[in-house]
Each structure stands twice: as C-alpha cells, then as structure tokens.
Subunit: 410 residues, 2 copies
Amino acid sequence: MALIVQKYGGTSVGSPERITEVAKRVLRWREKGDDVVVVVSAMSGETNRLVALINELNPEGLAREKDVILSTGEQVSMGLLALCLQAMGCEARSYTGRQARILTDSAFGKARIREIDASLIKTDLDAGKVVIVAGFQGVDADGNITTLGRGGSDTTAVALAVALEADECQIYTDVDGVYTTDPRVVSDARHIPKLALEEMLEMASQGSKVLQIRAVEFAYKYDMPIRVLSSFDDGDDGKSTLVTREEDIMEEVMVRGVAFNRDEAQLTIKGVPDKPGVAFDILGPISDANIEVDMILQNVGSDGSTDFTFTIHRNDYPDAMRILQETANTLGAADCSGDQRIAKVSIVGGGMRSHAGVASQMFEALAKDGINIRMISTSEIKISVVVDEKYLELAVRTLHEAFGLSAEAA
Amino acid sequence: MALIVQKYGGTSVGSPERITEVAKRVLRWREKGDDVVVVVSAMSGETNRLVALINELNPEGLAREKDVILSTGEQVSMGLLALCLQAMGCEARSYTGRQARILTDSAFGKARIREIDASLIKTDLDAGKVVIVAGFQGVDADGNITTLGRGGSDTTAVALAVALEADECQIYTDVDGVYTTDPRVVSDARHIPKLALEEMLEMASQGSKVLQIRAVEFAYKYDMPIRVLSSFDDGDDGKSTLVTREEDIMEEVMVRGVAFNRDEAQLTIKGVPDKPGVAFDILGPISDANIEVDMILQNVGSDGSTDFTFTIHRNDYPDAMRILQETANTLGAADCSGDQRIAKVSIVGGGMRSHAGVASQMFEALAKDGINIRMISTSEIKISVVVDEKYLELAVRTLHEAFGLSAEAA
C-alpha cells in the first residue's frame, strides 16, 4: 500500500464533468489499496475571472487582499471534488491551505512554504478518508491567507508529498509527460519515460511548461519522485514521465531534450566604462525594480569601455528599458538598445557533462541552417543560445534532429 | 465620533461599479469622522452560481463541504472592496469569518454565532483603518468554515455591532426602509421612519423581506439599533427606517403595517381521536423531518374526534403530505387534505396591545370584501389570517386602507 499525492490542474477540474473524471480516477487508486491526497487548482478560467475583477478595481492594490480573492478558486474546486467523491460513496474531506496547516512567509502573491504540519491529514488518511487540499495557498504566522504565485499548486503537491513522506507525487495535466521538445513544434518529438530531476529543472526553467520550476526544485531538494501524467487518458495505463533523483538516468543519453522560450527580451548598454562594479551599477537598479534577469553577457573591451547585454521577461521590457536609459545617463554610456523579438533555445542532458564537443556540435548544426547566435550561456547540463525569434522553430527542429531525438532516430 | 457597522447586500456589491459606489459611501462616513466596519454579502448571482455547481455534483453531500464552497462568495467581495478603498487612498483591511474570529457552532449551512473576539478589528479601527468582514460565515471550534444560512450577512453585521458596542448597525439594501406594506401591492404604502424591534420582528417573520428575522432577534436581544437604508440613493440624506427597542414608539400608532406571505401551504387531518398527545402524534413526525410548522389550529370536536390544521413552507408540502398520510393511517384518522394556494396576511403594531376591537375591525373589513378567512392566529402585536391566495392583494389593500395606513390618510 502506497501513499500517493496527486495534483490536478485547472483544465483537469475545469467543469463538473472533468471533476467527476478526477473523482473516478482517485477511486481507482483507492481501490488498488493506496492512500490518496489530492491537490487541486482552481477551475480553468476562474483565476482569470478573479484577476479581471481585481484589475477593474485596483491592479496596484495590496497583495494581501488580492490573495484573499485569488485563493477562493482552489477552495471551490476542493469542495466540489469532496462532494463528488462523497456522491460516489467515498469518504473525503477538504482542506484549505490554512486548514492543512501550510505555513508560509508573508510574501503575498509569491509566498514560500516554510512548514507543513500534516498531522490532521494523517489522521484522516488513517481513518480511510481521501484528503483534498487546495493548491496554491497557505497561511502566514498572523493568519493571513497567502498564495504561492501562478502554478503554485505543483509546489503545494510536492511539499505535501514531502511532509507526508509519500511514495510518489503525481502531477496530472493535459499532456502525458515530458517530451524531447514541444510536439507542436517538432511533430516527431519523443515521449521521455524517465528523467533526472536536474534535467527536469533545466527543462522547466528553459520553458517546458509541464512542471513549475519551484516544484521541481522542492522535489530535488527533498528527493521526492514526481510523475507527470495526463488526466485526459481514460485508464491509468497511459504514458507518464517519472522524474527522480536517480543518478544513473542522467548518464543514459547525452542530450535529453530541446527546451525553448519566447518570453524574453534582450537589452544592451554600449560603451560602459570597463571598471570594477559596473555590472552591479547596471543590474542593481533593474533588480531593485523587482525585474528578474536571466542571461548576462559582458564583452571584454579593448579601449577601456565594454558592452553589456542581458535578458529579462518580455513583460518587463518597457520598465527595464527606462531604468537602463537612466543608468546609461548616470554612467556616461554611449548607447542603449533592445530587442523583444528574440527566443532562447536550449539543449538539456546530464550526459553532456562527460561528453566533450556537445557545444560545438550544437553551434555547427545551427550555423549549417544559417541561424545566427546572439548570446550563449552554459551550465553543467544545458547549453542555451539566444536567436532571432523568427528562427525559433527552425532552431528547435534542427537541434532535435542533430542530437538524434526524433522518433525515427530512436 | 461614532462607530458604525454597515452591511451591504448582494445587489449593492453586484459589480465593480456598485462596489465603487459602496467604497465612496464608506469614505463619506469616514470623512464625517466615524469609524466604519463593513460587512459584505457575495456579489449578486455568485451564490446561485456556486449552488448550481454543488447541485450538479452532489446536492445531498456533506454541508461542511458546501460551506467551504459557498463561503468563497463573500471572501471575493470583501477583498474587492478593500482593494477599491485602497485605490481611493483609504487604508482598509479585510477579514474572513475566521480571521474576524466569528466563532459558531458546527451546524454547517445554518450555524449560530457563539462568540466574537473583536480585539483584532478594534486594533485596526484604532489605527484608522476601515475594516471589512465577510458576511454569512464563521468558523467552528475545530477550524471548519461554517455558513449562517441565506441572509446570514445581516446577522453577521448585527452580531459584530454588538461585539464592538457600535452606535448603530446600518443595513444597506435595494429599498430605503420599511413600508406599511409592499409598495408593489399597495401603491400608496407609506414609508415608516421609525419602528420598534418587536414590530420589525413580526413584520420580518410575516414576510417583509427587508431584514432577516435572525438578525432582528439578535438586535432585539442585545438592544442594538438597526437602520435600513438604500445603497442606491445617491447621497446619505435619503430616507431610512430606524428600528430600535424604545418602548414609546410602539404605542404611537395602533397598526404599523400589513405584512403578507405566499410561501406557505396548509395541511388538514380530519377525524383524529380527540385525546391528550394527539398534537404531538401529528406534529412530531413532521418536526423529525426538519419541517418547520407555522400556524397550528385544532378544532374542538364534539363526537370524540377533532380536525387538526397547520401550515408549513410550500417547498415542504410533498414531504409533509406523505408524512401526514402515514400518521393518518397510524391514528385511524378519517382523511387528509391540503392546499398550496393559500396566503397569510397580518396586521402588525405595538399599539394593538392596548386597543380592543382591532381583531373584529380586521375581520369586518375582510368580510365586507367577501374574503373568507380560513385560519386565524394572534400574538400581542399582530393578527394573522390565512386566506385563499387569489384574495391576497385585495386583502392587503383592504387592511391597509381600513387601518388608515395609506399616504392620503396620514
């Protein structure tokens, strides 16, 4: 008998019919003899409806009040699923973030889980009940409702799985796992049945939207296996991707997949005095404005000045450009420029640690197809390049084929 | 400087525009120097939306889960109003029933308030903040979310006013107070500026839907003045009805108003053995089925048997009739009959305590217009009659005129 934590996303609980399907699936796991804790998102569309109401009244209002409003979406889903299970003769009990004792810090809108006291949930499980927990939310030390930010339900599920010492955390979504790349871009992308957490971390942060990066980080830290499954499969024998910490998976193949993301924009400041502290002078004000910087590139200058390029989320582009222009004036830089039509493409795989030449193989493949590389960034298990957005699909397909990821190459 | 508790119903917060109007009104009270605590209902339509979702999945499910779902409506309203006040530069803070420490029993769906610890709210008021509380909800001793039943927001407002020792509890609704009868039935119905709580209690329980009966009972018990106002008046100089416990108002006029209700149905069991305990034999099973009985009438029989008639809510008619037929079989009664096309019309007024002949004046007026009386029930300050439903409007107009309540008679 295993203890399973299952998370169902917004489309999986998007209607009474979908909720009924989820309840049937939970029952099937129960009938196998497993204990099940279910984490639910808000019904699809609900969070957007609430955000629209907020934005109509006061988009700049205190995040505490926004969290109070946004947290209701998951609260409705959890109650509906409990009612549905009860109708099927299964004892079920729902918990808000507070009732599940998910204690967070007070960073409203992007709170971090500090601690979970799972004793109440354990008592219910011991009594044979299915426990349903609202995802995405918690409570701070003062009793305020907090939310974990978009996609926070994945984090709730993994954190609960850790607190309950569950055997597996299952993330049900609208796809049946992780693929070598997005099948909408490369039609013969292959399903990956097993993946290392480190690889998933790079795949997720590079734009594969199957799992939230924070949830993967949490799973990595506490060694919790995650399984990604589709809630739209009829049975439970469908495909899935198991994401674990097992070291040996990492070495199996050189390149696991191709991730990409077109949410970034690039900013460049030219002719900056090449002296210690200049990176902080440029990025400090950006960070003060709560804008996250992804890739950073500094050319070594020859005439005592240097060029500095970095990427940010595209939504932050107008703010970042305004701040950078102020900085340019202060530093006496020559010029500022930017580009929103860029895309980042990455190859990810634990195997590349022990294989030399992966980077040059990547650059060669791109060059053959005439794709110019604008920025490069590397880590132990991934290489990312920034290219013109118009080349995105071509670059993904080229790399997918070059590293033998396509189905016929398997 | 006064402390005012204001309650806004569903239509008053039914859209972002309406919420903005509420915020403006709260600000006007603040600018007068008053402290304001606001209790809000769910946006109009929202509770019905949630009920429809519940009914689609499991109308018979546990009330605990239904309360979890239903309580979200008020939580959204309170957050939106807080955001709106913040946008207007007013510090505001929202509280769920739990955060406001509204402790109830565990009768989910119809919980009773046991205790309110208002210390947190007082601290916020002392700091100059407007406090917004979700109506209709509380928390039980185990931390479960409870709801007080439909219209429970009025009760929340009065209970908070009592706990905070407020100067007045203002109930904003879509009408500007209590009238001598429903203006939709009698076009020259007069506005009542001041009313005794006992009279309001009878008006409310007799079907005047301006205030919830439980809220009035609460106000009566703790001597809290209630003012009924319209949130659709532009200024704050509109009409209102003040409902207080002052004894002298009661004696001012003989009959204060005409209340009516067409939600009842009548059941009769004939030829019941006339012996002690028969009333309990008949009404016990009805009460066991959680059906509330309103009027009860037992004829004195001459041949050792008696007829027994009572009224219930029309929704309970099929259940009650089935139960009554079983009882008739058990008791060996002659016959059961029922009628759903009835209406109850009442005259209410503290003055009738000291005026003889009010009842006969009422019966005379009805007889003159050919309206047959089917049942009569009296209390210290009201006389109710049951008539055929088709006579309802005629009976109301007749009594309204007979007791000099019309505008021209003033």
